[in-house]
């Protein structure tokens, strides 16, 4: 068991492990976040981060006091409340199913714990980032699944069938790739009116991002199919009367799996950044639902950047996620090149 875990870490590298940790963290956002994403405190706009202090055998959270309501400056009031672990806080439904109100940590009633500061409405940035990150993960995983399925099927059909089918499909992918991505996204977004439910918007964003993503993947798959089709083992299979399905599933796909895995990993950042960009422009997920993009868009004005620079943290989180996925792709590529099974012939 231990060696298997070790091998896993070796294949996915530090980046993979970190991504798993981040993914698990966002999965349990309801429990790990001290507050709900829409839990407001209008008396604490742009409150800075408060750091719990250790004394008398427990953690204490200082209570902030607004000293300058014009410029939204705060200073510690001298009072403090204890920080509890595994405590009862705001109630939530984990994944929309499990009803609970237990949180990993929470500050006692009048106090409020802001690990990374608050936004204009006094909502906890840390909690919102957790929820926003979960949205990014979910959206990119679903989006990748869609674009990956379309891209692989189109690529397989085009590469295997050849002829006019190939030409038609490739022209289609050229059309998709020739439209500037952001314009296409904005155009697709404008199909649904503004102010529809967040579920619809999520579907539209995911759908449009996948609609853009499949094209380049299908060309990669097509190229792979064409290069593999000329190899002896495929020719032999075809000559011995194997059906196209058998050839595709038994000979072509298993040989492409590393490339596919790598291109899938490397295509995830496009989804994360695409969603964030759309939400940043106000075309994506709208308030009060948090997404990494619309949290960042709150800090668009210079005034906000000055009084609450921590809101830029969502941008940093996007960068971290993108770096990790890029790194994971690279690690997988290296593992595929050198490791066993990377170049195996079935």
């Amino acid at each position: 068991m231990k060696t298997r875990a070790g091998a896993f870490v070796k294949t996915v590298g530090m980046a993979g492990v970190l991504l798993l940790v981040l993914g698990a963290t966002s999965l349990f956002a309801e429990f790990l976040a001290p507050y709900r994403y829409d839990s407001v405190r209008f008396d604490l706009p742009y409150a800075p981060a408060v750091i719990p202090v250790w004394s008398h055998g427990r953690f204490w959270v200082p209570i902030l006091e607004m000293t300058d309501s014009e410029r939204r400056r705060y200073s510690p009031s001298g009072k403090r409340v204890p920080l509890h672990l595994f405590c009862q806080g705001e109630s939530y439904r984990m994944w929309g199913v499990i009803h609970s109100s237990r949180h990993l940590f929470c500050a006692e009633a009048p106090g409020r714990i802001y690990l990374m500061g608050a936004d204009l409405f006094g909502r906890d940035l840390f909690s919102r980032l957790l929820y926003g990150m979960r949205f990014s993960f979910l959206l990119s995983l679903i989006g990748v699944a869609i674009s990956f399925s379309i891209g692989t099927i189109v690529g397989l059909v085009a590469g295997y069938a050849g002829g006019w089918v190939d030409r038609l499909l490739m022209r289609l992918s050229e059309i998709v790739m020739a439209v500037p991505g952001l314009y296409l996204l904005m155009g697709l977004r404008s199909i649904v009116p503004f102010g529809v439910s967040s579920t619809t918007i999520t579907l539209i964003i995911t759908g449009s991002l996948s609609l853009i993503g499949w094209a380049s993947l299908s060309r990669v798959v097509r190229g792979l199919v064409m290069s593999l089709s000329g190899q002896d083992f495929v020719l032999a299979a075809v000559a011995s009367g194997a059906s196209p399905a058998r050839v595709i599933f038994l000979h072509l796909l298993p040989n492409m799996r590393y490339y596919l895995l790598i291109s899938v990993t490397l295509s995830i950042p496009a989804f994360i950044v695409g969603e964030a960009g759309l939400s940043f422009l106000g075309l994506g997920l709208s308030e009060p639902h948090p997404s990494l993009g619309n949290i960042l868009s709150e800090s668009q004005s210079l005034e906000t950047m000055n009084s609450a620079p921590w809101l830029l943290g969502s941008g940093i989180l996007i960068v971290i996620l993108v770096v990790l996925f890029n790194r994971l792709g690279d690690v997988l590529r290296e593992a595929g090149e050198g490791g066993p099974g990377g170049d195996r012939k079935t």
């Binding site: 500037p180 904005m186 155009g187 977004r189 404008s190 964030a276 830029l312 993108v322 770096v323």
Partner: protein, 322 residues
């Protein structure tokens, strides 16, 4: 050769037709159009709206409306912008030079720095210089353009070295044309730098790996063995071979000249195509959206074509192959 070009151009025509048709379908799906918003404005008489409707064939069934627009397009008429109340071609004609100024400067900066640095880094691959630039490239690839632009804005505000957003500041009427140009350039620095920073990473990594591959080729050893001058070895053997894979990328950069800077433009308030397009989509300005998409797509396709032609000219292997 000519045949290949003609074939490619006709392909491009087909793809363009597809794009135009699909985007028309897309806009048709969108509920309401600009005229229905106009109709709610009591200051505009129903007569004006009816005449606009007739002139642009908006009341017609889908296919006829499409043909109407496409026929006008062939005569160089891209239609009318309902939100700006000017012809689309005028609007695009105003914005395109500004966007090109921004993106071309950015391309000059990124290529001008990344290529020499990559050659330098590749010669001492794995050294401190190379490794730090590699990590920098990683960051450059991973930072989304809108975040980078926000950071740039923050820098401008904190240091006061650069104007915050816009392309021009209010100059006195007496200001000469040199002052105006200087002012424009001052506004240009930060947006073009952030754009260049964003494309530096890809360039550096690609050029570096390409140079490393070429350096270890036998013909390089042979050239050195024959005692050729360093300069000759560099330009004729190393550079010409190493730059090959970048030509395709160059085509893509050319293609992205119009559409690639959208976020940067929006954040810095640069009056280019990106902001125009966002406005057009938000207000459902049908023909403006179509015009913008068309221009962007044409440039993308032209960029790819140009890259292939360049490759043909630069690489005898490609020439012999076709």
């Amino acid at each position: 050769m000519m045949r290949a070009v003609v074939l490619r151009v006709s392909h491009m025509g087909l793809v363009l037709l597809g794009i135009v048709f699909l985007s028309f379908v897309m806009m048709d799906f969108a509920p309401g159009d600009f005229l229905s918003q106009m109709a709610m404005n009591p200051q505009i008489s129903p007569r004006v709206i009816a005449s606009l409707k007739e002139q642009y064939g908006l009341g017609l069934p889908f296919f006829e409306q499409f043909l109407h627009w496409a026929r006008a397009l062939l005569h160089g008429d891209m239609g009318y912008s309902f939100s700006y109340h000017v012809p689309v071609s005028t609007l695009i004609g105003e914005r395109v030079p500004m966007t090109l100024l921004l993106t071309a400067t950015a391309v000059l900066i990124s290529w001008g720095t990344a290529l020499p640095l990559a050659v330098f880094g590749a010669r001492r691959a794995g050294g401190l210089f190379d490794r730090s630039l590699l990590s920098f490239s990683y960051l450059s690839i991973s930072v989304p353009s809108f975040f980078l632009a926000l950071l740039g804005l923050l820098l401008a505000e904190r240091t006061g070295w650069f104007p915050i957003g816009g392309a021009r500041s209010a100059l006195p009427a007496t200001a000469g044309s040199w002052d105006r140009i200087g002012d424009l350039l001052h506004h240009l620095i930060l947006p073009s730098l952030t754009l260049a920073l964003g494309s530096f990473g890809v360039l550096y990594r690609l050029m570096r790996s390409s140079v490393i591959e070429v350096i270890s080729q036998p013909f390089m050893t042979a050239a050195r063995g024959r005692g050729l001058r360093d300069r000759l070895i560099f330009w004729r053997y190393l550079f010409r071979n190493a730059v090959n894979p970048l030509v395709t990328l160059f085509g893509m950069e050319l293609g992205g000249l119009l559409s690639g800077a959208a976020f940067t433009e929006m954040i810095f308030g640069w009056p280019g195509m990106g902001r125009l397009m966002l406005h057009a989509v938000m207000t459902r300005d049908l023909y403006l959206v179509m015009g913008g998409v068309l221009m962007g797509a044409i440039l993308l396709l032209l960029g790819n074509l140009l890259a292939d032609l360049l490759l043909y000219l630069l690489d005898p292997r490609v020439r012999e192959g076709t």
